[in-house]
């Protein structure tokens, strides 16, 4: 698994340099590539917090913590600010409920 993913990652990073050179990539392709990461990452977040229990595995503190954490990371342009804000909200809500 780690070898397959590692090789693919290397090919992504080197592919254009080694095989395509200075020819331009189609604009549509580059544009679509920019939405791949947000689509996969958000789907991954949902799958992680559901914990294999379906939609019932998603709890309110988790939802609020994720939204606050995501928004804070974006506003501060800093992943750690997002992590700390999201976790503080998550802990506080778990403690209150």
């Amino acid at each position: 698994m780690i070898v397959v993913v590692g090789l693919s990652t290397y090919l992504f990073r080197s592919g254009v340099i080694l095989f395509i050179g200075n020819r331009a990539l189609p604009e549509r392709f580059v544009r679509t590539l920019q939405s791949v990461a947000p689509a996969v990452l958000s789907a991954l977040v949902v799958t992680m917090i559901a914990d294999g229990e379906g939609a019932s595995g998603i709890e309110l503190p988790e939802i609020v913590g994720l939204l606050i954490g995501g928004a804070a990371a974006r506003l501060a342009n800093n992943l750690i600010v997002g992590l700390v804000s999201g976790m503080v909200v998550f802990w506080a809500m778990n403690w209150l409920i």
Binding site: V4, R13, S35, A37, A43, V46, G52, L66, A72, A73
Partner: protein, 244 residues
């Protein structure tokens, strides 16, 4: 134009020695502030490696073979829970954005020696790309030294950070919510990757469809949701072009 008064390493009688090379040091100086925010990430990843269904040493080796935090985190946390091809496809798709880096930096790799064209891209993670892309004033040889210094710095530091996470991972108490911390980290990566309106559509559709498909076996809803998000973003862009 200002004359440059800085001595070049070739001018020094001691010859070119790496530890006084201003390009190499400049690269490391630029890299340190970008690496600091990655330290807790590497640490969380290290603890996730300990708790992964994969043997810890294999999970750790992903730092060497993959060298990309988000994809590694996705891989070690879903391995054993989803079918192997879902795990591999998810991690691969997360790193597909690196095609853009490869395309963006290609002009600087023209006329470079073969070893650098082969080895340089391995280190081309988000931060190294961002730094290397800014070095327009360096000549070919200087660019090579700058890229390799920054790349090797990040690679070594990343191995150290994830190793520290693995070493101390067992002692993190369960009730602190490590899984939630990982999810929040991904939520932050999601929001920071939304550079345009269609990317926001991609994230919302990706999450929405995944929620609806949570009942599917082998966490298949993850891939279908992600694919739906990309298609929705593509259609959004096409509609916006028609509207113009």
């Amino acid at each position: 134009m200002k004359p440059t008064s800085k001595p070049r390493p070739q001018d020094q009688s001691s010859g070119v020695s790496l530890h006084r090379d201003p390009i190499v040091w400049g690269a490391i100086r630029d890299s340190v502030p970008l690496f600091v925010p990655a330290i807790p990430f590497g640490f969380v990843l290290g603890t996730a490696m300990v708790q992964s269904e994969l043997p810890t040493w294999i999970a750790w080796l992903s730092s060497v073979t993959i060298f990309g935090g988000a994809a590694q985190l996705a891989l070690v946390t879903t391995a054993g829970l989803a079918s192997w091809w879902t795990v591999v496809a998810t991690a691969i798709v997360i790193n597909s954005r690196h095609i853009m880096y490869s395309a963006g930096i290609t002009p600087r790799y023209q006329n470079q020696p073969r070893w650098f064209r082969l080895l340089g891209p391995f280190f081309m993670i988000d931060q190294v790309f961002a730094l290397a892309a800014l070095q327009g004033e360096l000549d070919r040889q200087q660019f090579r030294r700058y890229s390799m210094a920054s790349g090797l710095f990040f690679f070594t530091s990343w191995l150290l950070a994830t190793s520290a996470g693995v070493a101390l991972g067992g002692s993190v108490p369960d009730n602190l919510g490590l899984e939630m911390a990982i999810a929040v980290m991904f939520a932050g990566l999601t929001s920071m990757s939304m550079q345009r309106f269609s990317a926001i559509v991609a994230a919302i559709v990706g999450a929405g469809v995944s929620i609806m498909l949570l009942g599917l076996p082998n966490r298949l809803g993850l891939l279908v949701g992600a694919a739906a998000g990309v298609v929705a973003a593509f259609l959004t862009d096409e509609l916006a072009r028609d509207g113009e």
